[in-house]
């Protein structure tokens, strides 16, 4: 199991995050080997590769291994490299997690979206992707009556699809409008990203990929075919690329004034 359930590689909180199906041990091993190979290439190609593609995150978790609180996964997004018309991260997230446009824009889920921000005084604009900010003190987690909204030990905020009652209080509480309610019956779901009519969902930081030692789909797509604006990694590891850059450059977190300690950092906004 890549994302952890109560019986498998458990989330550190002891909760399932709602995987409908898990990978086989062979598949997990294959993913692990892929991750290991990618890490080896990254190490060999040194600096250039590191900056172009971002580092591989911490190694894949073994089956049964709990998420570690020594890790804090996060993102660094450089708005200067985020093209206004580029939608690669959104498309990749849709493909990876199976949410799509059903022709009802008011009610369709959006796990990640592109924002265009304009200064009305001088017309200056910038563009950035917005998704769950995976806050340490997440308001969605605080208000959830059943505890279905929860934060893993490694900082990833998820919804337990088995205990979400669809009250939508988390959507009222989220400062980022990062959550969507499933308004219609669904078909063709991805086994690693279960969804359910009448429940709330949001960006999982591609927890199934992260647990397999891979980077989130949006980051991969941004680096492959987008502007290379997104970097994923362990904020707690001072030697990680993301931690180094955050320590070097001036970064901003959206609505930092609320004190929620978001795990997503932005540059050049």
């Amino acid at each position: 199991m890549s994302c952890g359930s109560k019986s498998g590689a458990g989330c550190a909180s002891g909760k399932g995050c709602g995987c409908a199906g898990g990978q086989t041990v062979d598949a997990a091993r294959r993913d692990f080997l892929h991750g290991a190979a990618a890490s080896a290439v990254t190490l060999l190609a040194a600096g250039v590769t590191l900056y172009s593609f971002g580092p591989a995150p911490a190694a894949a978790r073994a089956p049964g291994e709990r998420a570690s609180s020594s890790v804090r996964y996060g993102l660094l997004i450089d708005a200067a490299k985020c093209g206004d018309g580029c939608n690669e991260c959104v498309t990749a997230c849709q493909t990876e997690n199976g949410w799509r446009d059903s022709g009802h824009p008011q009610t369709d889920a959006q796990w990640i979206r592109k924002l265009t921000v304009k200064n009305p005084k001088n017309g200056a604009t910038f563009s950035l992707p917005m998704m769950c900010q995976h806050c340490t003190d997440a308001p969605c987690v605080d208000v959830c009556p059943t505890g279905a909204s929860f934060r893993r030990a490694d900082g990833i905020v998820l919804v337990d699809k088995h205990t979400c009652i669809g009250c939508r209080y988390c959507m009222m509480a989220c400062p980022y409008k990062a959550r969507s309610f499933v308004h219609e019956p669904l078909t063709d779901q991805k086994a690693h990203a279960p969804r359910g009519k009448g429940t709330v969902e949001s960006c999982t930081l591609c927890v199934h990929r992260v647990d397999a030692g891979r980077i989130p789909a949006c980051v991969e797509a941004c680096n492959d075919t987008g502007g290379g604006a997104m970097l994923f990694g362990d904020l707690n590891d001072p030697n990680s690329e993301i931690a180094k850059r955050i320590a070097t450059y001036r970064t901003t977190r959206i609505r930092a004034d609320l004190g929620c300690d978001p795990g997503v950092y932005y540059r050049n906004i």
């Binding site: 979206r113 924002l115 304009k118 979400c164 400062p175 409008k177 309610f181 308004h183 009448g198 609505r255």
Partner: protein, 396 residues
């Protein structure tokens, strides 16, 4: 002190059964609407990812807030030792239970997964004010039921001590309950319209007004059905005064709430939206809540001769309740319609309607579900007064 006599709803006009039948039909329609929403998903409502709580929440919160206030008369009689209110205390208690059951039913049936009610009742996150409210609501039902028991049981009611003790507990509990309901909104730090501690006292003031107005209407409509005057002239005068005081309290707290936000530059956007150019929300605030639900009924009650008449008091109570629904609509829907501020001072656009005022139009299933909460309350009251002596004897 003379023993107070109570009565059941023995004889009544035929239209009593008409009212029961009408509300049974509305309840059936509401249950059908809930099934339809559960089966098809919330796509059949006017709700969306911008306005996540719609018309069912307006009715549900309105009824829950009113339930707490409906206990006013019982509290005044037991806790504050005002004997003249005692004949109305039982009806006050059963009205509180009926309104709360109606509100909770709507709240549960509007869940995305109402079939998981058992999860909500067994799995708790104790940091959630929503979870606290589950205990507050269930506790309120149990305490008011116990309160009714000690008021009605022949042995327990021999002494006023038991009623005073349980009544005191119910009085404290209802204040905490309404504080909890107001805090569901007041503690939402990210939304411009909420994030205010004053929402708890605002909801308490509103509960006192709605609950008393419901009590007045219940007494008048029951009396009409029985061809009796259940409310003495003295009590009509007292209820008139209470409603006026509570309405002034709602207006005062509402004014302080908005003035506080108006003083902060960062909140000018939401205040401009609600008070000046928010379309339906601005109209509902000024015309619905303030004019129809505040100034007009207050003027009626204050009118030298007109204001003392029973019809005037009944009309005023009805207007207060219409204003209450408008108030809840503005708070709940209007508060969500205003966009979240991600970048203060900047214009934000996206395919997810960032930076835009959200659209919302309640669908028929939502309205039926909301109305069915009111019907549940009417049916509970309607049958309760036939089964047990909750009603006062005719006034002399």
């Amino acid at each position: 002190m003379a023993k107070i006599a109570y009565q059941k709803l023995h004889t009544h006009r035929p239209h009593y059964w008409g009212v029961i039948a009408l509300n049974a039909v509305i309840l059936a329609a509401g249950l059908g609407a809930a099934y339809y929403m559960e089966h098809r998903g919330h796509i059949v409502t006017g709700m969306n990812n911008q306005v996540v709580w719609g018309m069912p929440h307006v009715f549900a919160v309105f009824l829950i807030v009113a339930a707490s206030g409906a206990l006013n008369i019982a509290s005044v009689s037991s806790v504050f030792n005002r004997a003249e209110y005692k004949p109305y205390a039982r009806l006050s208690g059963v009205l509180a239970i009926a309104l709360l059951i109606g509100g909770l039913a709507v709240l549960v049936l509007d869940l995305g997964r109402p079939d998981r009610l058992i999860v909500a009742m067994t799995t708790y996150n104790f940091k959630s004010i929503f979870a606290w409210n589950i205990f507050l609501y269930v506790g309120f039902l149990v305490i008011v039921a116990a309160y009714l028991f000690v008021m009605m049981d022949s042995y327990a009611s021999r002494s006023n001590l038991a009623a005073k003790a349980v009544g005191g507990l119910a009085f404290g509990w209802r204040l905490v309950l309404t504080t909890g309901t107001g805090s569901i909104f007041g503690w939402l730090v990210a939304r411009e319209a909420y994030d205010a501690a004053i929402m708890a006292p605002l909801f308490i003031a509103a509960s006192l007004l709605y609950g008393t107005a419901f009590t007045v209407l219940a007494l008048m409509l029951m009396g009409q059905a029985m061809r009796q005057r259940l409310m003495s002239d003295e009590m009509a005068g007292r209820l008139r005064g209470l409603m006026a005081i509570f309405a002034l309290a709602v207006l005062y707290v509402t004014a302080v709430h908005h003035l506080t936000k108006l003083y902060a530059s960062e909140r000018h956007g939401i205040e401009r939206f609600l008070l000046l150019d928010g379309g339906i929300y601005t109209v509902l605030f000024w015309v619905g809540q303030i004019l129809i639900g505040g100034i007009l009924p207050l003027a009626i009650l204050a009118a030298p001769r007109l204001g003392h008449g029973r019809t005037a008091i009944g009309v005023a109570a009805g207007l207060f309740l219409i204003g209450g629904l408008a108030q809840m609509y503005v708070i709940i829907i209007g508060g969500q319609a205003f966009p979240l501020i991600l970048f203060p001072g900047m214009q934000v656009t996206s395919s997810f309607f960032d930076g835009q005022v959200a659209t919302y139009r309640a669908s028929l299933p939502e309205i039926l579900l909301g109305l069915s909460g009111l019907s549940i309350a009417v049916l509970v009251i309607g049958f309760a007064v036939k089964l047990l002596p909750f009603l006062p004897q005719p006034a002399r």
